[in-house]
Subunit: 529 residues, 2 copies
């Protein structure tokens, strides 16, 4: 399947392994492994219950069909409300899937006797196969011997990567705004983030190069970072998505300075394209076929990873359900082996109920069906994003501006001013907030212009942010405060506050109501006291 | 529910927390928690997919009835073979259980919209409630404010406990033979086991006291251990079960020397009673009601834990299925809080498919039904143990001896000699192997008398063990070698080798065949060269 240009293999990067990882033994089962799976052997070595003691004779589900979601962007009225769902449930088109306790070919047919038994930390074979094929087709790693390995979600994945790669006292590179749990997971181990400036594509390559080239170990109190944590698509919280060119630049810098890239990419398939204001949009169905949908996605770092220095984290949280607690690494076999050992003494394999239901769903849908499902989801999120941003136009006076400098250089920025009151249009000097419509993911990242606040003083950005966040919460709207996402204390965004607002979950009517509350509270906040 | 004598609460034991655990922040969600769950609030803070994007409209299962297994000890012929199961599946008595996507009362009725969504590391509420009630009724902790908290199985539980309690360079106390993964999990962190001698009840209290009282920090290169890892019921690998008196002694020693007890108890409900040779057994059904079944179980350390220094690990691996990857801590609220934080940045909550199916099963069965199921399983394992030990009588000349010293002091020991050949009985000087029939768990722990081997030399026990293990594997029988379970290199059992043989999984016919292979290979091994 691999083309001849990929005949080369991942290089040896074992010098990146942490002391902890180096101390980890080979698989505890290794001694037995030679004899395992031999049908002529009577295995009385493990403490495995007989499958007749599993109290489930079968597990089944009504699985949605893979084309459940239209490729035609929907408008507000199409949205199915939760209440409707509650009383009208069962209207979706579903197919029954069943996982029997026993199968004639237990290794290759999904069955509870295997999925619910002790197994290796690699998970059940049909799931392994699907994932390996999927990663190969979609991400196209630039080397031939890439490996995939299940984990229990990207938080587990990153946590394992930290322990496998970092020693206490080390720093890792990340975007200046980042996923808080990534920091919460590493900090207690004495592994701390160092921030790289961002722009509309996420991490800046020039700033990254500067950071690494000018790294002063003494000044920083840590050796030059050799691990990067990055969310390159629908970045959390900024929503930024990184294109091919930037990724190549960053990859080359990582080669130059010998940095391992941990690519956390939970929103990868929620790439939605550029936002267009309502009047400019067409409601026509997307004509793309699924191959084109995949081909149009921003490439993974894996595609440029000719050395095998990328550890990619994928999760089913956003495409099946967060409660799946199932995801996978794609990386070199060397790293996969160490990550597997790390998993063996914690989670072992992911839950067998989840593994078997998801594997049965995916193998029933097949690769094409799953891609169709992902495509449908991307369109759903596009509709949500579009609707949500549209509501800003209703509550604010929105002006588009083209930014030529700062974090949003090269972007169409949406600046929100107060709506003109009554018949007389008042000219306002200052905008209240701005955002760049995201092209991927679940979030709008709002930059509040606190300099417009009557009692603003430099250095009080965070306290204003907290004050406004509390006002919003008290008024019935919960958003995520910007301070929560700061990778370190040095984030420098003078005069600004930030909020991350999600459009992934609420009903359309609630989103509308939310922006109404938001505009009212913001108005009150900015008004002269 | 708590009686007045338990009005006191767990004491403050925060000085046991590791540096890592102390560095862990309070729940990342804490700032938002105040507003969460308020139905009047529009929550746009989290990156949660809308539940209509979960591709399962419902999940269901054919759940075995709770009295599926007879309380009448079965004989060989009753055993359902795997092959029978495969072609005759569906003959079990089952009831359908279903988890709908939506529920009218989503917090208290099990539903996919909640179970498959992001949630706290505490898991879904109906499962929390069942577990808390179950732990209270069965283990009866000696203090009133005990907490329970889900984890993804006892390996995860122990791994989290190590990181929460131990700093690198510390040692923890354990039995001289112990669960290998417990050592594999801790060693890479620089946390190593120190062994306490065992007898027929498991860990010896006198040796424990001696170890702690005479601890020499300089000599040992580590401060006196403040954490114990112990498997008190159906101990892995020895099968020993500890009674009330010994547990009290050990608990008091742990109070005196300020040691936290991590009680890993996966085999707790597989307590089977004393083995009786076939001729002495009755096939009458057990007359006990379920309350008596519970009352007759060896008590948990929790029952004596008036200070809250026990962290008990329970798992559904042996009673539902290993693939459940679901278990729970029972401990003080202080420890539960730290263990929860540890979980938040790794596994988060256990898999929602598993959580909801198991919670639905348990709440359908109810407490009494689950206890009935556990009782049925205990009888099943008793039948398996009895049958397995019976087969030794067929292949060896078994003599009972009453041991007055050594590891099996006070026990009926079963000594296995070669069967007399032909008509003439030959008197053998030496026995080949011995074991004490376990009263709990899944394993027979065999002590091989290598001094009976013609080329035995002291110090070569392990190489003989490996040789015999390999001979067995090559002949088609896989058992677990003793060396694998040694807590440290100081295990002193002169002239002996060990094997752990499991009776939990194989068909009865296979067990019979296994002991036939075993006796043949052992015979060959011991014969004069």
């Amino acid at each position: 399947m691999m083309s001849s240009e990929k005949a080369h293999k991942a290089v040896d990067l074992s010098h990146h392994l942490s002391d902890l990882s180096k101390r980890r033994q080979v698989s505890p089962l290794k001694g037995l492994a030679k004899y395992m799976g031999n049908p002529n052997i009577i295995a009385l070595a493990g403490g495995m219950p007989h499958p007749s003691y599993f109290p489930f004779a079968d597990v089944s589900a009504s699985a949605l069909v893979s084309d459940s979601f239209s490729l035609e962007p929907k408008q507000e009225s199409n949205s199915l409300s939760w209440v409707w769902k509650l009383f009208g449930a069962g209207k979706e088109k579903t197919n029954p899937i069943t996982i029997p306790k026993y199968a004639a070919d237990p290794a290759n047919e999904i069955n509870l006797a295997v999925a619910l038994q002790y197994g290796t930390a690699q998970g059940i074979i049909p799931l392994q196969k699907f994932i390996k094929e999927f990663a190969g087709k979609v991400y196209q790693p630039a080397y031939s011997d890439f490996a995939t390995l299940v984990h229990t979600g990207n938080t587990d994945g990153w946590s394992r990567a930290v322990l496998t790669l970092c020693n206490p006292g080390e720093m890792f590179i990340t975007e200046e705004w980042t996923y808080p749990s990534a920091v919460f997971a590493s900090k207690p181990y004495g592994v701390t983030p160092v921030a790289v400036a961002m722009d509309s594509e996420g991490m800046r390559s020039d700033d990254l190069h500067k950071l690494l080239a000018e790294w002063n170990e003494e000044e920083r109190g840590a050796k030059r970072p050799h691990v990067m944590y990055t969310v390159p698509v629908g970045q959390n919280p900024s929503g930024a998505t990184m294109g091919e060119q930037r990724k190549k630049e960053i990859y080359d810098i990582c080669v130059k300075f010998d940095v391992i890239i941990v690519e956390d990419d939970p929103y990868y398939f929620l790439q939605q394209g550029v936002y267009k204001p309502k009047s400019e949009r067409s409601a026509a169905a997307i004509k793309h076929d699924e191959a084109k949908f995949i081909a149009n996605l921003a490439p993974s770092y894996l595609k440029f990873d000719y050395q095998g220095r990328v550890i990619r984290l994928d999760t089913f949280s956003k495409y099946v359900a967060p409660g799946s607690r199932l995801g996978f690494f794609t990386c070199s076999p060397q790293m996969a082996e160490r990550l597997e050992r790390q998993g063996e003494t914690t989670t072992q394999a992911p839950c067998g109920f989840g593994q078997s239901l998801i594997a049965q769903l995916l193998t029933t849908w097949k690769y094409d069906g799953y891609v169709r499902w992902l495509h449908g989801l991307a369109i759903e999120y596009r509709s949500r994003r579009d609707f949500f941003i549209d509501t800003f136009f209703e509550e604010f006076h929105v002006r588009q501006s083209y930014s030529t400098r700062g974090v949003w250089a090269g972007c169409d920025v949406y600046d929100c001013y107060p709506k003109p009151q009554g018949m007389v249009e008042k000219t306002f000097e200052r905008k209240w907030l701005s955002f760049v419509p995201p092209t991927s993911g679940m979030f709008i990242w709002l930059a509040m212009d606190f300099e417009a606040h009557p009692s603003f003083k430099e250095g009080e950005e965070e306290s204003l942010e907290v004050q406004l966040w509390t006002n919003l919460a008290e008024a019935g709207l919960l958003v995520a405060p910007g301070w929560y996402f700061a990778a370190d204390d040095e984030v420098n965004d003078k005069g600004k506050g930030h909020f991350r607002i999600s459009f992934s979950n609420a009903e359309f009517s609630q989103m509308k109501k939310a922006i109404k509350i938001f505009s009212e509270i913001v108005k009150e906040f900015y008004k002269e006291h």
